[in-house]
């Protein structure tokens, strides 16, 4: 009786193993900032070219770059520019622009924070919202996990040494941070503007704080006036296959600009 069950199991396995040959599968990994946009673009591409399947995994920009370089993934997504050490055997394409802004709960009365206040909050000098004009409540200061592009950008921009951070929590992906800040009135975090605006449009109770007096929005990023902006790039190995190139050409074309705008990012002209 056992043998029969095994035989069935094996037969099931075999049949699901034998994938049709005409299928093309692209593996995309990396930045969780780009992932939602990529998945929309992929859906449109798949409906246009049946037989193509695009799987998207998140894992952060560095991972996307490393996976594309090592060939684990066909395409890497990065929400920061390549470092010199990473430029070796990969080709990068600029997909869109985004910014990084501070985000708090929608019910937080604080309207803006100066650079000094931000540094104070993240280095532990300021621990109560009262000190920056909010209500009497301890600040739940959320930092991003090691390796996230926002962390590198943020610490570079405000000149905070890695060891000087005094956070109360660590969030990994954008979505993790968004979820935490949406469920805690006293939390503060820095996040992708595109990802955050998209959540605001969908009714998530958060708000973006302006930086150096500039409103944190896709418009300001597009206008080039938002101080903390960054490119969203795609990375492929220099020996990438034809289907990969075709897909890259597609997502760089104006055919997907509506999707990029819908996700509150700024298309590259």
């Amino acid at each position: 009786m056992n043998q029969k069950v095994f035989a069935l199991l094996l037969a099931g396995l075999m049949s699901s193993c034998s994938a049709p040959d005409d299928r093309v599968r692209l593996e995309v990994t990396g930045s969780s900032t780009i992932a939602p946009l990529m998945s929309e673009m992929a859906k449109r591409y798949e409906s246009r070219y049946p037989g193509v399947r695009i799987d998207i995994q998140t894992g952060g920009s560095s991972r996307g770059i490393a996976d594309a370089a090592s060939g684990v993934a066909d395409i890497g997504m990065s929400s920061r520019a390549l470092k010199d050490s990473e430029k070796g055997e990969v080709v990068s394409y600029r997909l869109a622009m985004d910014g990084v802004a501070l985000v708090v709960h929608a019910d937080n009365p604080v309207k803006s924070l100066s650079d000094e206040q931000i540094v104070g909050i993240y280095t532990g000098a300021i621990e109560n919202w009262k000190e920056v004009g909010g209500r009497e409540a301890p600040i739940n200061c959320i930092n991003r996990a090691e390796g996230r592009s926002e962390l590198e950008l943020f610490q570079g921009f405000f000149g905070i040494a890695p060891a000087a951070f005094q956070p109360d929590m660590i969030a990994g992906e954008n979505q993790h941070g968004l979820k935490t800040v949406a469920s805690d009135e006293n939390a503060i975090i820095y996040l992708s503007i595109g990802a955050s605006e998209y959540e605001v449009l969908n009714g998530t109770p958060i708000k973006l704080l302006p930086m150096r007096g500039v409103e944190a929005s896709a418009e300001m990023v597009a206008a080039g006036t938002f101080p903390l902006s960054r490119p969203l790039i795609l990375i492929v190995s220099s020996e990438s296959s034809a289907p990969v190139k075709r897909f890259i050409d597609y997502v760089l074309s104006s055919e997907v600009h509506d999707l990029i705008r819908q996700q509150s990012y700024v298309p590259v002209q």
């Binding site: 952060g60 090691e146 060891a163 109360d168 660590i170």
Partner: protein
């Protein structure tokens, strides 16, 4: 002909055993191989003496102190075992010697069900129910305390079930002769039954400790994940396991290698516990009826 068929079968089975046993070797081999770059570039000492855990991709830039996370793991585990041990052993004593039959059966069933709840569900419940409660009491909520509480719930069934089983194996004569001496029930339990069941209970405790130290996601979801040695139960911590799960996604270079080192450390700790259990079992196998 039949004998040669038997020989053939023996070789197939032996081959399977080689593969099954080889998996262990493979796992350890790959862990070690992936850790080697970290040991080459960083040595061993830096994992305990560096200023902090800021593992940039290249050894020259990063700092790689695993100590706070090791402390985090140990604190979370110790707390969970401290809470779960009396509750678990108490549950076993309750079922064996105090509760009426129907109550004991129901309670056992409940504990079995508790054991069947997957860790991610515990983590989810902790995140949604427990953390906000702790947050009200003493922010931020995601903390050592939350991790300890969730973990103690998760290991309680292990302790309770193994203790219960080892008490159930004790011969009835122990109890009858103790009661014949006019001892009260509690004196019988404390003086006779618990010591007699001690090796089994200890085994349960150690297995539960192993489970606690290896648990990943339930802890990650409620512990806050700050790399620090906490000064109070309300402060967030990060455990070794959570560190791997959080950073593995995007780690590269020496950072990645040091996560494998983290995995090695964890494996060594848990394997050491397994061997202690085996020692206990062997030493007391004559005493366990």
């Amino acid at each position: 002909m039949d004998s040669s068929g038997d020989r053939w079968l023996l070789w197939v089975l032996r081959g399977s055993a080689v593969i099954a046993g080889g998996v262990t070797l493979l796992v350890i081999l790959f862990l070690v191989a992936a850790s080697v770059p970290a040991f080459q570039h960083l040595g061993v000492v830096r994992f305990f003496t560096d200023a902090s855990w800021h593992p940039a991709e290249y050894a020259a830039e990063g700092t790689f102190n695993l100590w706070p996370m090791l402390v985090g793991s140990l604190l979370v585990t110790a707390g969970a075992v401290l809470i779960a041990a009396p509750l678990g052993v108490g549950a076993a004593v309750f079922c064996q010697y105090y509760a009426p039959g129907a109550v004991a059966a129901t309670y056992r069933r409940a504990i079995e069900l508790l054991a069947g709840i997957p860790s991610v569900v515990f983590g989810f419940w902790g995140l949604i129910v427990l953390v906000p409660m702790i947050n009200q009491w003493h922010p931020p909520g995601q903390s050592l305390l939350a991790a300890v509480l969730i973990l103690s719930l998760m290991i309680l069934p292990t302790i309770a079930m193994i203790s219960d089983a080892s008490m159930a194996q004790l011969p009835d004569e122990y109890r009858f002769s103790a009661e014949a001496l006019g001892l009260t029930r509690w004196a019988t339990v404390r003086g006779v039954m618990l010591p007699a069941a001690a090796p089994g209970v200890l085994t349960g405790l150690i297995l539960a400790t192993g489970r606690a130290i290896g648990e990943t996601l339930a802890v990650l979801m409620v512990c806050g994940n700050i790399v620090q040695i906490p000064t109070s139960a309300f402060e967030p911590v990060r455990t070794l396991t959570a560190n791997i799960a959080l950073e593995m996604a995007y780690a590269a270079g020496d950072h990645r290698a040091s996560l494998f080192v983290t995995g090695l450390i964890l494996t060594f700790i848990v394997v050491a516990l397994v061997f202690i259990v085996e020692k206990i079992n062997r030493r007391f196998s004559s005493l366990i009826p």
